[in-house]
Amino acid sequence: MKRPGLFNEELLYECYQCARCTGSCPAAFAVDGFNPRNILLTYLRLGIEAVITDEKLWCCTTCHVCEDRCPQLIDVADLLCSLMNEAAMQGHIPEKVRASAEMILRTGRALLVSRRVDSIREKLGLKPLPEVPMEEVEGILDQTGMAVLIG
């Protein structure tokens, strides 16, 4: 799994702080204070607690341009994914993310299928969406630990 500790930490020491990741990062462009270069450095210097409590961590759009452009071939986006997993594990989950995860847990889909949706579909001649077998989805997410985390 990609949780920290299983992430290849040695590779992170290859970072020479050129900040190409951050210069290329759309989220860094849009959000003051979101800085992948600095997240990596802070993580190495001060440890994981220093980076996972800041909600800005979740601003990553997961576009993977950082990884595309890193001259040291560091998977910056995967590092951020690991850190977000760890943050979630410790209860630091942004409200919108929690709500969407809960929706998947309850309905098997990230968006609610309302009656309005059904009527628009019908008008277009589309069949209603097939039911997601929820017992199965819940069973799987229960087994893997997501249900405890979100539920």
Binding site: M1, A27, T61, C81, R109, V113, L124, T144
Partner: protein
């Protein structure tokens, strides 16, 4: 050409018109779409970041469903393609992890074997259907200038999305949509930052206004090249551009009027499909002015 149809969450729920267009185009081009009780893929911008193991197991369940039918999966969303391809690759390369995930699936009569392929609609259209078939179905040509947005999760990271098609420097640059639109005689134009993010992944998780700043950056480069319409292959990117323009116009005094099309809607127009079957009434940035004003 028979595929397990993976509609994802966004298209069938928010943009059924895109689904309608896709099903019509698929039929016209001889692609059979088989519906199955798939769940959320689940999203690379969501569950993958919250709980990787759960994300992997849910993806494996979806893959196993299609495997049971012996069908390759056709996705219409970059996010679904990203999740299903990464999950399949990770599980194929890690027998211990595969075993662990299969133990979770076992009580439900499912097993991930890794035997099927996951393909994005764009690849099916370009490679399996072929541009010649698309050319021969084209009845109408449109002259408007189109800004193509591929979207990140279609091809990044390339080592996961297109491991067999990497350049010597291990990169991959998508061209499918250009080739498809070229075949219909449409006019895709180059613009700055063409392969960069739409912003969606930031808006859905934390901050929509900040995400719209990313969208604005892309829109401004499109406007610089007089783009008249945007074409996407992902419903999340669609929403980001379609809704983003409305919000930016309202909140920030912008004046963007570039209708956004899902690729099969443009093909529908080119193939002469009646407009009411293409779901334009679900668009926030209206298409009428463009379609009525000499675009055809």
């Amino acid at each position: 050409m028979r595929y397990a149809f993976f509609p994802g969450c966004m298209m069938p729920v928010k943009y059924p018109g895109h689904e309608s267009a896709t099903r019509i185009i698929a039929e016209m081009l001889g692609i059979e779409l088989v519906d199955m009780p798939f769940s959320c893929c689940s999203a690379p911008t969501l569950l993958r970041l919250v709980h990787y193991e759960s994300w992997l197991a849910l993806a494996a369940r979806n893959l196993a469903l299609a495997e049971q039918e012996g069908l390759n999966i056709l996705t219409v969303c970059n996010g679904c393609a990203n999740t299903l391809k990464e999950a399949a690759l990770v599980l194929r390369n890690d027998p211990a992890l595969k075993k662990k995930v299969n133990e979770v699936l076992k009580p439900w009569g499912k097993e991930f074997t890794g035997e099927i392929e996951v393909k994005h609609l764009l690849d099916v259209l370009r490679d399996d259907v072929g541009v010649e078939a698309i050319r021969s179905k084209t009845e109408k040509t449109f002259s408007f200038r189109i800004g193509i947005h591929y979207g990140c999760h279609l091809f990044r990271p390339p080592r996961i999305m297109y491991p067999d098609r990497l350049s010597p420097s291990k990169h991959f640059l998508p061209t499918q949509m250009d080739e498809i639109l070229d075949a219909t005689g449409m006019n895709p134009v180059q613009y700055n930052r063409r392969l960069l993010c739409c912003g969606s992944g930031l808006g859905t998780k934390v901050d929509l206004d900040a995400a719209n700043q990313i969208t604005r950056e892309k829109l401004s480069h499109m406007a610089d090249k007089d783009v008249q319409a945007i074409c996407v292959g992902c419903p999340s990117c669609f929403e980001q551009f379609d809704r983003g323009q409305v919000i930016l116009n309202r909140k920030e005094n912008c004046d963007y009027k570039m209708p956004v099309f899902y690729i099969t809607q443009l093909l529908g127009l080119a193939f002469g499909v009646p407009e009411e079957k293409l779901g334009f009434d679900q668009h926030r940035t209206k298409v009428t002015a463009l379609l009525d004003g000499g675009g055809r």
